[in-house]
Symmetry: C2
Subunit: 340 residues, 2 copies
């Protein structure tokens, strides 16, 4: 059994950094695209047999040290009644965006096994298939990041509606984020009950807030999620574009901070201190370079991370145009490293 | 004559910080929307009479201390032959994206007065109308930021094509950025010759690079622009999402660094040192809050900037949904401050 990833999450001494890749189950794999041809993205998420299959593909094909559930961060908001759909080439949309505390009253409390049972079934299937060969990571978006989609109704350039709400009625927004947090904590707890052995919280858009405002607006509901997760599993917090938030993240009660490629790991560690395990952070674009570049940049990343607990990963999701050979080379370069 | 802005750019002692607003000529103004109804965005840019009129509106309506040319950063790339057009609700597109040094051979060298004469005519009209009442700022995008649009063919989520190029053929990319820089320097020099009294360089997407890669890939062509501008006017460098770049920007040969809202001005100043004037950096979202909030947050921003040269502004463009009264309140709050 390969429990290297879990030991690294707990900041135990490990023989080498474990490695996995954000969006490792995805379009860069021909085997994934073949399954996607059989249905749209949401159908894939909602069909446990297929979702389990694509979750397992990168274990077999790329050799990563952990599996991550194939799902979408917006599924719980759909289960709450916001009406998720996807527009080809443009990404997710909500039929019923929520832009006030009043409008949020239309959101329903979720029972994960009832409303998102297909996710739990995927977790159970993957756990059974993996049979302990590598750990399975579950995940959710943070309430703030979920709110960017729920309030704007989809991806946004400037988050104008959410910002307007955050300045005009911060208390109301915090109450709605708290409502989302309650559902998220249940959802994550159910993933753990179904077999997830670690959880990653994606704050993809936390970085649009200053540190002061992130602490005021985004942190309370995030803490609520963290405090209400049932089950003793390591927590990973990922933030994109959040170098300026690191001084605050130092105190976040999670074992692992996953950082993007914008700041070297040694600089990040100098800010967050020695107690946090760092995850990341090769630029996903680096996998589009030559083999020599991939090896040298991966080694440089490992050297920058060597000053403390480190889980190798990219700094963001792998790009769809990446050659799977390059993903394998990244993984093998980490595997062949020895931290001695 | 109100030359407060120019004196502040030169880091001279001033009676109060000058104030202007990025995108101050824009959709939040009913008077702008009225003119936009007479033609699309590109027609407005290319009609000096109208472009001059919208450039002047915020001077009259909001009371800012500087005018900024109404134009688009992508106009020079269109003049080079890339074929700019706008898709309603989605932003700019290029008919002929450039993804290799070979493809870049189709780009033509520009003669600003011949190919972008309408911009220079706008500058001349505005200069004449202003008659020295406030200074006029000209601008251009940095070669790196222009390349994000030129290579991707429009706005992008992950800049995959540009990143691929930057890793697979960095020397070729640098040569193309240098070609763009040559045109940009001519374009900016022509703006100065026509009457622009300061220049702002927009690096809207510099922040997607780590500091090391920004220095390797984006900086050489930026320096080429700066070194080849003819005319002695203050230079302002704006970067969005670039808190992690500040240690490198310390040495950039510009008078003013314009920063976004993610990091307080006193923290930015601690990194870039006392020689740089800072411009910014109220969160544009703050203008969507109550009057009391706008005043208190503007004062807090002024206090954070008071440790050195400071030009008050937002940290990014004003949001289209902003009430003009709120923009005026922001400006008046700065004007009523005394740095004594």
């Amino acid at each position: 059994m390969n429990d290297l990833f879990l030991r690294a999450c707990r900041n135990e001494a490990v023989e080498r950094p474990p490695v996995w890749i954000m969006r490792q189950a995805g379009r860069y794999l021909a085997e994934y695209r073949a399954i996607r041809e059989r249905g749209d993205f949401l159908t894939l998420c909602r069909t446990p047999e297929l979702a389990a299959e694509v979750t397992l593909q990168p274990i077999r094909l790329i050799g990563v040290d952990a599996a991550i559930l194939f799902a979408d961060i917006l599924l719980p908001l759909d289960a709450m009644g916001a009406g998720l759909y996807f527009v080809k080439g443009e990404g997710p949309r909500f039929e019923r965006p929520v832009r006030s505390e009043q409008e949020a009253k239309s959101l329903a409390e979720i029972d994960p096994e009832r409303d998102l049972g297909y996710v739990m079934e995927t977790v159970r299937r993957v756990s059974k298939e993996l049979a302990g060969s590598v750990p399975l990571i579950g995940f959710a978006g943070t309430p703030w990041t979920l709110a960017t989609y729920l309030v704007e109704g989809g991806p946004s350039k400037n988050y104008a509606n959410l910002l307007a709400w955050s300045y005009s009625d911060p208390d109301g927004l915090r109450r709605v984020l708290s409502f989302v947090a309650k559902g998220s904590a249940r959802y994550l707890s159910a993933q753990v009950a179904a077999g997830a052995q670690a959880l990653q919280l994606f704050d993809s858009w936390g970085g649009i807030l200053s540190a002061e405002r992130w602490r005021e607006i985004a942190l309370p509901s995030l803490l609520q999620v963290i405090e209400n997760i049932e089950g003793d599993v390591p927590l990973i917090f990922y933030v994109n574009g959040g170098s300026h938030l690191l001084p605050v993240l130092r105190d976040l009660p999670v074992q692992v901070l996953s950082v993007d490629w914008r700041i070297p790991l040694d600089q990040a560690r100098a800010i967050v201190g020695p107690d946090k395990v760092l995850q990341g952070n090769l630029d996903p674009g680096a996998l589009l370079g030559s083999k020599e570049e991939i090896v040298s940049r991966t080694k440089a990343m490992l050297a920058a991370g060597a000053g403390g607990g480190h889980i190798a990963n990219l700094g963001h999701g792998i790009l769809p145009m990446t050659n799977p050979d390059s993903a394998r080379l990244f993984v093998d370069t980490v595997k062949n490293s020895a931290t001695g």
